[in-house]
């Protein structure tokens, strides 16, 4: 498509405005516990999120090219995730992954350049989802309140991710360590989701930050 504005010199790019801007009241809320808040809720923003997908023989090519450009191979096993976060690659469907990292480069363009020649589809979803990080001793209780998967420490371990419904809306849930989870929801649901999470967390006490 013709882009007549590649020379947009002189205009400073605007900062991204999170779907939750103004909604996070930093501090401790809910029940007070001598051990401190049961869960800490932080927004992860701004993130780059790019979906990559291939079909048939394109898949092997894409996995190689991803490895070359990201230094990380998308995980083969369904519902698993890899990477330290720079980037993190999550399986989201057959031959489909989400590449996530804190925004620092034009990840969409990086991946388009690297993967499109091999036939992969590359789609920027960085603005389409909001992400919360939940961590602390009560984090699995909150997952149990919102979603029906097995959140037992023995069952849902670091490096596993899953898409399900949480508090009645679609969510992608990534286990980072035993008591830390990154949750992705559609941007439009972010406020509703945050409200549900904080309601659920009130009995354990929660820290917003």
């Amino acid at each position: 498509m013709p882009d007549s504005s590649t020379e947009a010199a002189g205009v400073a790019p605007l900062g991204r405005q999170s779907a939750l801007s103004g909604m996070i009241r930093p501090g401790d809320h809910g029940a007070a516990d001598y051990r401190g808040p049961g869960v800490t809720i932080t927004e992860r923003h701004p993130l780059s999120m790019v979906q990559i997908e291939a079909r048939g023989p394109e898949v092997a090519v894409m996995l190689e090219a991803s490895n070359a450009v990201l230094g990380l191979r998308p995980p083969q096993a369904p519902n698993t995730s890899v990477g330290d976060g720079h980037p993190r690659i999550l399986w989201t469907g057959p031959n489909r992954w989400l590449v996530v990292e804190p925004e620092s480069r034009d990840l969409d363009t990086v991946l388009q350049d690297a993967l499109i020649p091999g036939g992969a589809a590359v789609v920027d979803l960085g603005h389409g989802r909001a992400s919360l990080r939940l961590s602390g001793r009560s984090v699995r209780q909150i997952l149990m309140k919102g979603a029906g998967l097995d959140w037992h420490v023995r069952a849902f371990t670091p490096g596993m991710c899953a898409q399900t419904t949480m508090f009645h809306l679609p969510a992608l849930i990534d286990c980072r360590d035993e008591s830390t989870f990154d949750i992705y929801v559609a941007r439009g649901f972010a406020v509703s989701f945050l409200e549900s999470v904080t309601q659920a967390a009130a009995e354990y006490g929660y820290r917003l930050g």
Partner: protein, 1006 residues
Amino acid sequence: MIFNRRFDQPFRLAEGGEIDRLAPVSFRFDGKTYQGYLGDTLASALLANGVRLVGRSFKYHRPRGIYSAGPEEPNALVELRTGGRHEPNTRATMIELFAGLDARSQNRWPNLLLDVMQLNALLSPVFVAGFYYKTFMGMPGWRFYEHFIRKAAGMGSGTTLSDPDSYDKMHTHCDVLVIGGGPAGIAAALAAGRSGARVMLLEESDALGGRLRSERRNLNGEPAMRWVRGAAAALEALDTVTVMTRTTGFGYYDGNVIAAVERISDHLATPPEHAVRQRLWHIRAGRVVIAAGATERPLVFTGNDRPGVMLASAARTYVNRFAVQPGKAAVVFANNDDCYQTALDLHRAGIEVQAVVDSRPDGHGAAKQQAETAGIECVTGAAVIASHGYLGLNSVDIAPISADGLTVTGPVWQLSCDLLAISGGWSPNVHLHSHAGGRPVYDPGIAAFIPGPSRQAERSAGAGAGTLGLADCLRQGAEVGAEAATLLGFTPPAIEIPTSDEPATGPLKALWRVPGPGKKYVDLQDDVTSSDVELAHREGYISVEHLKRYTTLGMGTDQGKTSNMNGHAIMAEERGDSIEDVGTTMFRPPYNPISLGAIAGRDIGMHFSPTRRSAMHDWHAENGAVFVEAGQWMRPQIYRRDGESDVKADMDRAISREVTETRGGVGMVDVSTLGKIDIQGPDSAEFLNRLYINGWKTLPVGRARYGLMLREDGIVFDDGTTSRVGENRYFMTTTTANAGPVMSHMEEYLQVHWPELNVKVVSVTEQWAAMALAGPKSRDVLAAAVEGLDVSNEALPFMGVRETRIAGVKARVFRISFSGELAYEINVPADHGRAVWERVMAVGAEHGIIPYGTEAMAIMRIEKGHVAGGELDGRTTADDLGLGRMSSSKKEYIGRRMADREGFLDPARPKFVGLVPVDGKSRARVGSVLVADNTMQPPVPMLGHISSSAYLSPTLGHPISLGLVEGGMSRVGETVWAMFPLRDEAIEVRIVDPVFYDKDGERLHA
């Protein structure tokens, strides 16, 4: 604290029980203050205070007392708490006493002692089963009587205040779920838990133990509760075992999913701050051990409902667990060995046991000998045939009966007593087994139904499986628990089974009806007597399901826990069939009453369903938007200005203003909710060609096209524009309502029907904030907003698509129009949505730009004659909507082969038209039926209907509508009538061209 004062609890024993005598608790019942102890239930505390009359019965307003000590309680239902926490029909036997508890009796007026409705009891011969149906149905004035009838027969009343507490839901998984924390359940949990399996043990009461809490039994030579506490500690020590008390597993569903309710704060006056009152659990279990125990049955004799008559097991519970005397002088009446143990326990508690009446010709076993040794008079081959007393029991009539139990064979004698403990045997709680699809089978050995073959991964153990002896319960619990773990691949070690001192018991002899005249209650809660069952039989309601519905046997809050077995056995006797053949009614969840709060959880108010907001939501809110729900989205309906309220006149003014100022200048609407789908891959054009009725192979990069999709049956599915944004990349938009269905539709064809196509699709609805800039001045505003893009008509023609930057942000501009004006849609990554929106509003200020809402948007599209939701109603074809010419005959597309069916080609099909009121002002409602004239008598041939209406078109100055009418455009100029019979509306309307505004599209292409 004062604990050396002697509280006035005249029926409290000096020692014993599980109560905490250092923690006296004061509470109120019917306005009077009493004291009990922590560890009491409301029922035990009332009995300790000598309160025996606690309610009036449902239909006859008979005085009723506490009948049981558990969840089966049919009588002692009270209203608990006040204000928003008020809760009717709460079982006094299940309420843990807390300080400040306030309960009231129900179904009495003006008070419990003097209830005027007890006159109903005098009329009881007429209030037989089916009385109301027979008397009032079909009679004039039912609506008048109904109010009084419902008031007279009833339960507690609810509250209209909202509940201040919060309720919650949780999901969990386990390998082995054990339901019931009695001896069998504890043994099962220990056996399964020691294998390493994840085990959950649910116990309805506040502590483990089950019947062991209520019986004087030894295990391994020590009081049984010592073993229970040891087992509880052992379970606690296993980190794979979770024990939940105050938790009832109440429903067993498909897929081995069990629902349970945890009463977290019910035993407190109010929940602590931030705490939850009750929590509903959804438990997905590998295997389930149902150790739900058994329920003791009453005996059916005349006057068996009088306060003072009580289940024998309950009498033992009150003396042993609560250290309460449920009376001072007792008679025990049973058809099994329970009577002797009961007599011994009562005797030991200082209650004068007048006699044990055993209906069996011979007494059995060691228990009888013990009772006789204790000096208790034991009568066999006899029955209590009647009870006496006004508000409570004061004597019983006893007589010898025949061996078959059908006749009185000798003289009647009377004994004074204020307590009659009765036992008709035990019925296993087969409810959960039955929920899980199992069919209980009759076991004549215990005269009760026991679980049949399992349909899901469950097995019952203990009394719930019909295993009534303590030693057998423990052994079977361990065996079933170990089996569950083994079936899931674990290796359970053997566990030690404690030895019991329970004496051997003899068999019971079923006695379903005691002979004698008078009212014998089968179902105490619903006031169903044995004669009601007999009447049902005479009138042909011989199936147990009909019996239930005709007599209400087994309905109500207790769902027949104490009555079903007796009622069904009496029906079997009447029919002359075996109990096996008569069967039992189907049990359905919930096992016990569950509060609506627990079922609703947090899905109330604004969280009834999640809401979805666009990136510009806050700007809209700050600028006067009134929001409307569109699916889950919150969309601005209109923008109010200072001084405007939500009265209709102000709303109308705002709508008109938004239309007029947009058509006269420029306006902007948030269209972020439209579905957006990114399509990539070499076969994308082919895929679009198959999805849409029109052709896509010639669309150049940088252009958009309007497309129409059909379903396979040839009916219109959705419409929208799709743009080619790259060689093999397209950007589709769908209607807001169909964003999800269209996405799923495309995935279905790619995965199921056409896996050979190399196309990847993903929803990008949320990635892009979208705004439509419309009006003759929109180009000027756009030109000022974009950076380095020529937006002239030549450079960016109608249906052109360009990438540009606005406020430094990458943006896509589409020259498309829904309003019929010169218009552009601007898409930017959502995190920049608000900033770009504000930039456009700022540069548009000098052109008088306004924001407009969904009302103005809808009116402008109706004026322009565009089809939308009202027309895409799942019944219309492309031809019906005047869009048939779009379809390509050169290709195959979804729906093509069904679209040209004969019925769809019928010229009489209603077709898309515009409609205006002949009087220039009447507003024809959406859904109005179009008919030839307003004087016709039914049946009136229907010519069509109105699909969309603008109650006022500000542009035209009168109401306009869109609709479908037989003959369509060939009838332009004719008038028909729009009828809306529900509102008695009849409006004459003229058929016109559906494009009311700018028919030649000059504004669009300007």
